[in-house]
Subunit: 458 residues, 2 copies
């Protein structure tokens, strides 16, 4: 047997213990409940997808972060071109045809493409599963993390956008988060601006740069655009977006004026107006919604609305985001199949909840009653009474060995078990049980029936 | 952009739709509740583990089934020996240092090894997560499947074995499965037998063959042992195990007689007796437990008790299994750290539940109320009333577009939505809502308040 290194957690991944799982479940459950209340039903897809499914959707940078799985057995057997050994990129497709799920949208598209004959459209699904990215691990960035997605495929109705904005409000309200901003934009507005700049074929390039506004500021964005060869006269045509002020309605009006010569841009403005009208009809104020014409959501598959949710009290980037994607489905052979989605990132939400003290002070998932194990006879008595406690829904454990009492109580103490039942000589004689409240230290004697009533009523 | 193949599900993996997820959750929830009621707390570990952690635990055959993940970036950069290109086994460790979780026991050991200073022992954890095996896909065998494990690390008390047997009873009882057999054996009994045969150093070889008894029968097992060079005189020493009859106590007595000259064998018998005594003290009859001295659980890490659970009514192999492993932890630098565990396989349990008709007839997770969308005015009314229904816990959706009524009702029908609310001209005039019971077809008119009371009371 080869010598073992001390085992380690893979860098960028995490174990979750009982306390963390309890809190994470709190987030998952609330998100799931909201998604379900809007008529979304669950879907789960496998961790593995074919590389051919994954590629072509995330841009060159994204694709480099896909974890690739070596073909089974002699993976070199199918290498047809040995010169590939000098070039890992050429070798890759010959030795690895599968990869790990990188997001939940591509698996959804694959699912819809495979099942579109039997699905009922519009298809509303939610999916809460981990995804994997071979990112350089750093604080708050993990190689395995959960996404909580809700998507609707098969309708261009802007009602869905309004409902998604409503779901964001609902999830955050249920979690107790009141201070947040949903940045909202439309790709058509960006397209309109770039077209007016006379750079209509460089929308993606423009979006990548403008998307950094939040991080690097106005000056650096302009500098980078100039470096990239955008004419400074063209830049004047969009600089108004830095100065938009006032209410959403006021911003939209200003946008309409600047985009008067762009039908596309105006369409974007109108669609946002329609969405806001519906949000209003749902009784939701737009005070947490902010039109942000610089929001692009990077180089991605979005074609319509895009949005990003940030918390005011905690500076951790966006906790949710999404938008409408029209051409995405086309890559999977689905024409005229527009999609729109929302994704919550549980890790950032977790950090925010912790820092705002919003997780409920529930006791951790743990044993509620421990029965001591002092000798064979006491163990036998314990074994006969414990099933009755468990039947009443209590979590009960019997200390597994007749160790000394101090050790057993210390175990209960460390595990924060609130009640300990002791069966010593005295108790056996009297046919009773001694109950210790580990919080107060108080000890009381009970008959079996009293004990069951007390603990199961507690 | 490269041409896309029609996307496909990776062979041996599965998507799960809402109905399947509901049923699988039913299994997970029951197993989780039982584990928790015995004082187990949850743990989750990442999908990725270092190959160095995974290797050395599953035997040669098992190790070939580990999915290996290519190192990120230029994975050829660290290939020091180019002759490795002619031998994939030599190349493997140079280009892939991570793999996918193969079971939940090795990650547990890695976790315990890393955290043993802060954990409270005995450490009782349960873990419900998928594992991956690069097996040849076939009916009922998947490359991604869930395991539901409960393990106790850090006590040699046989009480744990008794509690595990009790948990098996409890889980199956809660699921409504009454006809099952827990085959129970002890590796010391097998070791004793092989030692009496004079082949003490070939226990693993013997176990692999004898483990097939169930599948191939007595004759073939004996034949294979002879082929492998076990002397036929030696074989006489163990053939008695084929003839064991009667109650568990009777079988144990016969085993004691045959193993009279093996202290090890006798110890195994005694341990099983102690376990059965405790099971009895818990008020559980041993009618579902069967001593099976040929049960070996393959070539694996078990050193003490081993058990396997089969259902009488459904021939699908074992739905659960487990045992005690002493040396396993040692491979992770943990000496004197014995472990014992139970694992439920949800896929086989699912098949069994389906075939026995034991899943509850719950309605599928779906929308409870759909509101039709006939025109802009009706949509606005709908948007104002829907939040009140959702607040009351109902799952409600508004049809996203003003399509014709027939199409909208057909959508509701296909999605098995029980109630549809319609807001037509007549209803708008009268300030009322028309409610259609999709099951009976009955239509009734309601004021807003009546509608809310009716649906939320329903």
């Amino acid at each position: 047997m080869q010598e073992k290194k001390l085992p380690q957690l893979v860098k960028g991944t995490r174990d979750f213990d009982a306390a963390q799982i309890l809190k994470r479940s709190y987030l998952f459950d609330h998100i799931r409940q909201v998604y379900q209340s809007y008529g979304f039903t669950p879907l789960e897809t496998p961790a593995l997808e074919y590389i051919s499914t994954l590629l072509g959707n995330y841009g060159t940078d994204g694709e480099q972060l896909i974890f690739r799985i070596l073909n089974s057995g002699d993976f070199l057997a199918e290498v047809t071109d040995p010169t590939a050994y000098t070039n890992y990129k050429a070798l890759l497709p010959q030795i690895a045809d599968k990869g790990l799920r990188y997001d939940l949208t591509v698996p959804l598209m694959r699912y819809v493409a495979t099942h579109h004959h039997e699905l009922v459209f519009p298809f509303k699904r939610y999916q809460i599963q981990p995804v994997w990215r071979a990112d350089r691990p750093q604080k708050g960035r993990y190689r395995e993390f959960y996404q909580c997605d809700a998507d609707v495929v098969g309708t261009s109705s802007l009602l869905i956008e309004a409902e998604i904005l409503s779901m964001v409000h609902e999830v955050l309200a249920r979690l107790g988060i009141t201070q947040f901003t949903i940045g909202l934009n439309h790709r058509a507005i960006l397209n309109g601006i770039v077209t007016l700049m006379g750079e209509g074929d460089r929308v993606n390039e423009f979006c990548i740069v403008i998307d950094k506004l939040d991080k690097v500021g106005k000056e650096k964005v302009i500098q980078e655009l100039i470096t990239k060869g955008f004419a400074s006269t063209a830049l004047e045509k969009f600089s108004f977006i830095f100065d938009l002020q006032g209410s959403n309605q006021h911003k939209l009006q200003q946008l309409s004026e600047h985009l008067a010569d762009s039908d596309l841009g105006l369409q974007g403005v109108q669609e946002i107006q329609q969405i806001l009208r519906r949000v209003d009809a749902m009784g939701i104020s737009d005070k947490n919604i902010s039109i942000e014409p610089s929001l692009a959501r990077g180089l991605s598959y979005y074609t319509g609305t895009v949005f990003e949710v940030k918390l005011q009290a905690v500076d951790i980037g966006s906790v949710a985001g999404g938008g409408r994607y029209d051409n995405f489905a086309a890559a999977f052979g689905l024409t005229e199949m527009t999609g729109v989605g929302l994704s919550f990132g549980v890790d950032r939400l977790y950090v925010a909840m912790e820092s705002l003290g919003l997780f409920p002070q529930e006791t951790c998932i743990s044993t509620q009653v421990m029965v001591t194990n002092l000798d064979e006879e006491a163990e036998k008595i314990a074994l006969s009474i414990i099933p009755q406690l468990r039947k009443n829904g209590l979590s009960v454990e019997l200390y597994p060995e007749p160790a000394n009492l101090k050790k057993q109580l210390s175990y209960a103490n460390k595990k924060l078990i609130p009640f300990v039942v002791m069966i010593g000589e005295e108790e056996k004689q009297a046919d009773q049980f001694r109950l210790k409240d580990m919080h107060t230290g108080a000890q009381t004697l009970h008959t079996q029936q009293e004990l069951i009533s007390f603990l199961c009523g507690a």
